[in-house]
Every structure is written in structure tokens, then in C-alpha cells.
């Protein structure tokens, strides 16, 4: 575990140098909202930002991704046969990603990389990407990462952690991919590890102390799924929801997708688009039956999946990193912190008969 100091003069030069061997992505301000974008020549990431409006999952897992190509032209001998396409998996680096978003990729990886099936699209994109995190200096009121197993200085999912120390960045390498990036950027100004680690530790405590909102998740695991499912608070919680996909598309830990074919003339492609459990079409059967036809059932599915089904299935923490995007972007202010506390504190009223 190496810690080096990058003084800010050769920050821009180092980034430019790294563009030689990485496609570099970073946060850029684009009329009122920050988004992750591939940085062109001379373009620098805007590192004193809070967080991007949408999560950086679209870099690894684009909203619309072509899976196969095919031709319907009968007089071609490979007509109607699906063919894989050439995708550019040359090395990429995401700089300035927040620790919560990086940790989210690990939670999502459990779904795309299962013992029986490996999703080649997602995994190829993920494994060829280096994650250079930027520790959070001043979290928002809607950030509750510390109580979801994450934190402003967390290192899970990161290959390199940068800590902004005013005139310089401390760079803490976490994996070999991080070291490769440092080498590519030409940053290797040695520094004495103890004092820097001490400084990072104090900055970490300061940042964690600034978190003002929390969720309680301790009792979720030993609650019965069917009890939570039949709880009375769902009706009232889901009333306001308009079933749009804003929360699921902004969320770094949401991964559901739809597969569609699109044809133009004789050529066609099979594409994978983001999908949302909020839409009725998500579970509509060919016979017209829909197991989740009402608004309440869909809202319940979203929260139950993140806070109960996923932890039960993988035996780990909740499927949420506390980034707060779904709270900030919900037009009717449905708040996952309120729902999580409701679920965590819910006790079945045992009717004394």
C-alpha cells in the first residue's frame, strides 16, 4: 500500500500524460449539472464538485448497448443469425469518482458475475476500467453513506484513492491497477507514509463527522420477508409515487435491463436498454396478467429488493451506498431513509388471541 503526494502543479500534466494509455473519464459541469464524460485533449475534470446528477454506471453499463447485429436479407447465407459485435474495451480510467459510486459497482458485480453465468458486456467493461476515487470533503444533507457500509473515504471498489489536501493530493494506491495508473501519469513523488496516513485518518474522521443523515439497517436481516411484504405502511409510503424511472436510472446500484430488437431495412440489432421495476410493462405477462400491476406493489418491490431481497440472497449488506440521488431526484420526495427506518423498525402486531 503506497501513498504518494501529487502537488497540483503537475496534476494537469499527469492527467494529460495518462490520456496516452487510458481513455480518461471525469466529472464535467454541463449547464447546471455535473456528469461523467470522456475528457478531450486539455480538458480537466472539475474536482471540487459535490457529485454528478446521474451515477457513473453509464460508463460501464450504457443506457442503450448494442448486443448483436443481424441481417434479414434472405440472400445472405448468414441471414437471421445473430453475430457479436466488436466493442472497444481498451483501458479506461474514471478519475474523481466518489467512494459510494465505486462501492456500488461491487454490489452490482455480484449480479453480473454469478457462478453459472457471466455477463460478458458488463464484466469486460468493468475489468478494463481503473477507478481513481476522490474522497468526499463536504458531504450533502442527503448523503447517508456511513450507515450503509460505505463512507466518504472508503476504498472498496477503488484502485486509487485521492485525498484533496489543499495544495496537493494524497494518492493512496489500493490495487495494482492503481499503481499502473500512477506510473502512466508519471506521479511517483515519494512521501513519508506515516504522517500522510495520519493526516488522511484525521480528514476521514472530519468528513465522517459531517454526515448528518443516517439509516438503521441492523434489524432488517432477521425480519421475515413475508412480514415486511404484508406490512401496512406500504400503502401510505407509495401513495405519492408517480412510477417514473428517475430514481432507478439515477441509482448506481440499479441494473435491471430490457432486451429489444430494432430493425431498419434489412439490417437490425439486438440492444439492451435500462429498464425500471417502476414501469407496469416490466412484469406484464403475454396473457395480460401482471403480478405487480399496482403502483404500491412496484414501489414495495424497489425498496424490498434493495433492503431485503438482495441482502438475503447474497448474505451481505443492503443494495444501497447512501449516495442520496434517489432522494434528490424524486419529484414527489419519496425518501429511502424514511422507508428504510420504517422497514427496520416494523414489528408485526401479534394479536393476543
Amino acid at each position: 500500500m503506497k501513498v504518494i503526494k501529487i502537488n497540483k502543479e503537475n496534476w494537469a500534466g499527469g492527467l494529460e500524460k495518462s490520456k496516452g494509455s487510458y481513455r480518461l473519464f471525469g466529472p464535467v459541469k454541463n449547464n447546471e449539472l455535473h456528469e461523467f464524460k470522456q475528457l478531450d485533449k486539455e480538458e480537466l475534470p472539475d474536482c471540487d464538485y459535490f457529485n454528478t446528477r446521474l451515477s457513473p454506471k453509464s460508463i460501464i453499463y450504457p443506457q442503450s448497448e448494442t448486443m448483436f447485429e443481424f441481417s434479414l436479407d434472405e440472400n445472405r447465407e448468414d441471414h437471421h443469425i445473430l453475430k457479436e459485435i466488436d466493442t472497444d474495451y481498451s483501458p479506461r480510467a474514471i478519475i474523481g469518482i466518489r467512494p459510494c459510486d465505486a462501492a456500488a459497482f461491487l454490489l452490482v458485480k455480484r449480479n453480473f458475475s454469478t457462478p453459472e453465468y457471466k455477463d460478458s458486456y458488463w464484466l469486460n467493461a468493468y475489468e478494463t476500467t481503473t477507478f481513481i476515487g476522490l474522497a468526499c470533503g463536504n458531504p450533502h444533507d442527503t448523503c447517508f453513506c456511513t450507515t450503509t457500509g460505505c463512507g466518504p473515504f472508503n476504498e472498496e471498489g477503488l484502485d486509487l484513492l485521492l485525498v484533496d489536501a489543499g495544495d496537493c493530493y494524497f494518492a493512496k494506491t489500493i490495487t495494482s491497477k492503481g499503481e499502473n495508473f500512477l506510473r502512466a501519469a508519471g506521479w511517483d513523488a515519494g512521501t513519508d507514509v506515516e504522517t500522510v496516513c495520519e493526516q488522511i485518518k484525521t480528514m476521514k474522521q472530519e468528513a465522517e463527522a459531517k454526515i448528518t443523515s443516517f439509516v438503521a439497517t441492523d434489524k432488517l436481516k432477521d425480519k421475515k420477508t413475508t412480514d415486511l411484504f404484508d406490512a401496512p405502511f406500504w400503502e401510505e409510503t407509495a401513495f405519492a409515487c408517480i412510477n417514473c424511472g428517475a430514481c432507478t436510472y439515477a441509482c448506481p446500484t440499479c441494473w435491471c435491463f430490457d432486451i429489444q430488437d430494432e430493425v431498419s431495412g434489412y439490417s437490425g440489432i439486438r440492444i439492451r436498454n435500462w429498464d425500471s421495476c417502476m414501469y407496469p410493462l416490466f412484469t406484464l405477462h403475454g396473457s395480460g396478467h401482471n403480478p405487480r400491476s399496482t403502483n404500491m406493489q412496484r414501489v414495495r418491490q424497489r425498496f424490498m429488493h434493495k433492503l431485503k431481497y438482495y441482502p438475503d440472497r447474497y448474505g451481505e449488506g443492503i443494495l444501497c451506498v447512501g449516495c442520496g440521488r434517489c432522494i434528490r431526484l424524486c419529484s414527489v420526495n419519496i425518501d429511502i431513509r424514511r422507508v428504510c427506518d420504517l422497514m427496520n423498525s416494523y414489528e408485526v402486531q401479534v394479536t393476543s388471541d
Binding site: F50, T142, Q260, L281, V332
Partner: protein
């Protein structure tokens, strides 16, 4: 503003106690600055949650569709016009409703205010027509009229057109307001510029359908977007599909849209989706002299015709 909240609570409590209504649909305080959450109040004790301030931009008429109970609904000017549209389109019966009309003084644009400050906003309060914005280490007072939602700034029907009881006395309507300045500005562009304008406008769109789902006018069991035989619109983020979706969504609101701004308020990326509906509202007004939701007896423009309708571009 808070007298309105108090009056709403008082009316709701009385109605619930008298059993005239089974529930009240209103707003409760949000967990974020400048945000309120639509809520359902069924018992007189919970009436204390009901609030009213300048952050009630979501249109509550959306929550009436398909309900059978007797409902007390809080409705500002545009909401009440949408309720009239619901009545015309038989989506709800008038005797089901007890409409608590709220003469409106305009809703503030939370994204506009947030973009005026670098640091995070912790709290937003309002007195008379001043908005006090407080954050860590700063406090600023803004003129409410400068930070109104775009539709509220040009609104000419602030008072409810239909109500059973008012939560405040009638407010003065805004006079000599040019509602179609933005529309004319786009209309004056040559076609290429218009195309670029709408391509840039819609490029951030992530097809989350918040604009469609926040709108009280959109209640089709199967939206044209979900039709598969034939499939009119692709499901991906191809710009042609996005433009087709927004075109048809707006077109379905022609002659029905009351410009309540809920679509723009709901868009997570702050896209000015009213650019489509305002053009249709201007055409409906100039071609057929129609304003949506103003009277229960007149048929909406696309549901009727006149032999002497404008006919010039038909050769």
C-alpha cells in the same frame, strides 16, 4: 402562505369529522428544502401534517384518476382546471369531490434557486413575497417574483375556476402577460436552428417518463410507448425515438394542458419540456380561441369542429 396551510387543515379536519369525505389529498412537509410530498390523509388526527407553501408545484389532480371514494382535494388554479378536464373526460364524478380551492401566488423553481448558490442549501423559508435561503455559512433573501417557475411567472389563472371552499381570498390575476414570448422566439428560427435547438434540448433525456407520469392528463392504460404491435417508438435513447416520444406525449395534451409545470418540475434533468406543450397551447388559443379546463360545458378543441375552422394550408 402559512395561513393557507392553516385554513386547509381546518377545512380538512371539519370535513373528515363530518364524514363528508373519506380522505384528503394534499401535501406534507418534504424531507428536503423546497420539496413537499403529496399525501393522503384519512383521519382527522393526521390533518396536522398538511402544509401549503411555494413548493406545491406537483399537480394533485393526477392522484384522483380511478378513485371511487369521496375525496377532498387541495387544488390551486391550474390543478382546478385539470379537475375540470377530468370531469369533461369522465375520469371522476363531480359529487365525489370536495375541492379545497387555493388562490395561488406562484410556485418557486427549486433548480433555479439551487443553481444560484455554490454551497448546499440547508433551508428555505418564505415571508410575504420574499424567499429566505439559508445554507452553511450564508443566508440570502430573494424576491419571490424572480425565482418563480417559468409557468407560474406567466400564469393568468391563479384562482381556482372550480371549488367548494376557498382556503384564502381571491388573488389579483397577473395582467398583460405575454404567455407566448418563448414560443415565438423559437418560431422565428429557421428550420435548421429549430432542429438543433430541440436536439440540444432533448439530448440529456434518459426516457424515465417522469414528465408523462407527473401529468394528470396521462392516464392511458397502455401508452403508445409500450405498444409493440406495431411498435411506434424505440425504447433506447436514440435521439429520433426521444423526439418522437416527446412529440407524441405533448400532442396528446393538445387542448388539455393547463400549463401547471408539473412535467418540468418532475424532470430529473430539468429539461424544458413545456416548449412542446406551449406551442400547442398557443395554436389552440389562436386557431380555436380555446383555453383548457376553463368551463365544464365547452367541448375541447379536438373533440369538436366548426365548418369555418382555419383551412389555409390545406391546398
Amino acid at each position: 402562505m402559512s395561513e393557507r396551510g392553516a385554513k386547509i387543515r381546518e377545512i380538512s379536519e371539519r370535513l373528515l369529522k363530518e364524514g363528508k369525505i373519506d380522505m384528503v389529498i394534499g401535501f406534507r412537509k418534504g424531507t428536503l428544502p423546497m420539496m413537499n410530498e403529496p399525501c393522503l390523509v384519512k383521519s382527522p388526527e393526521d390533518v396536522k401534517n398538511l402544509v401549503w407553501d411555494s413548493n406545491c408545484g406537483i399537480n394533485l389532480a393526477k392522484y384522483l384518476i380511478g378513485r371511487k371514494e369521496k375525496i377532498g382535494v387541495v387544488a390551486k388554479g391550474c390543478d382546478s382546471r385539470n379537475i375540470v378536464t377530468h370531469l369533461i373526460e369522465n375520469k371522476i364524478k363531480r359529487d365525489q369531490l370536495f375541492i379545497i380551492g387555493v388562490p395561488c401566488e406562484g410556485m418557486i423553481d427549486r433548480r433555479k434557486i439551487a443553481s444560484m448558490f455554490e454551497k448546499e442549501i440547508k433551508e428555505v423559508a418564505e415571508e410575504k413575497n420574499k424567499i429566505i435561503v439559508r445554507g452553511s455559512g450564508f443566508e440570502k433573501i430573494l424576491e419571490k417574483s424572480e425565482v418563480l417557475q417559468k409557468n407560474c411567472a406567466i400564469c393568468i389563472h391563479r384562482n381556482p375556476v372550480i371549488y367548494d371552499e376557498l382556503a384564502a381570498d381571491i388573488v389579483k390575476e397577473q395582467k398583460n402577460v405575454d404567455r407566448y414570448k418563448d414560443v415565438r422566439q423559437i418560431e422565428s428560427m429557421p428550420p435548421e436552428e429549430k432542429r438543433d435547438y430541440f436536439n440540444d434540448l432533448l439530448s440529456p433525456c434518459i426516457r424515465c417518463y417522469a414528465c408523462r407520469n407527473a401529468c394528470p392528463l396521462c392516464y392511458c392504460p397502455t401508452c403508445f410507448v409500450d405498444e409493440s404491435r406495431p411498435q411506434w417508438v424505440g425504447k433506447g435513447i436514440d435521439l429520433t425515438d426521444i423526439k418522437t416520444f416527446h412529440f407524441l406525449r405533448a400532442y396528446h395534451c393538445a387542448g388539455r394542458c393547463t400549463d401547471c409545470g408539473a412535467c418540468e418540475r418532475a424532470c430529473p434533468l430539468g429539461i424544458d419540456v413545456r416548449a412542446f406543450t406551449m406551442k400547442l397551447e398557443k395554436d389552440c388559443f389562436e386557431l380555436y380561441g380555446w383555453e383548457a379546463g376553463m368551463s365544464k360545458d365547452e367541448r375541447p378543441p379536438l373533440d369538436t369542429y366548426r365548418p369555418d375552422d382555419p383551412n389555409d394550408f390545406f391546398k
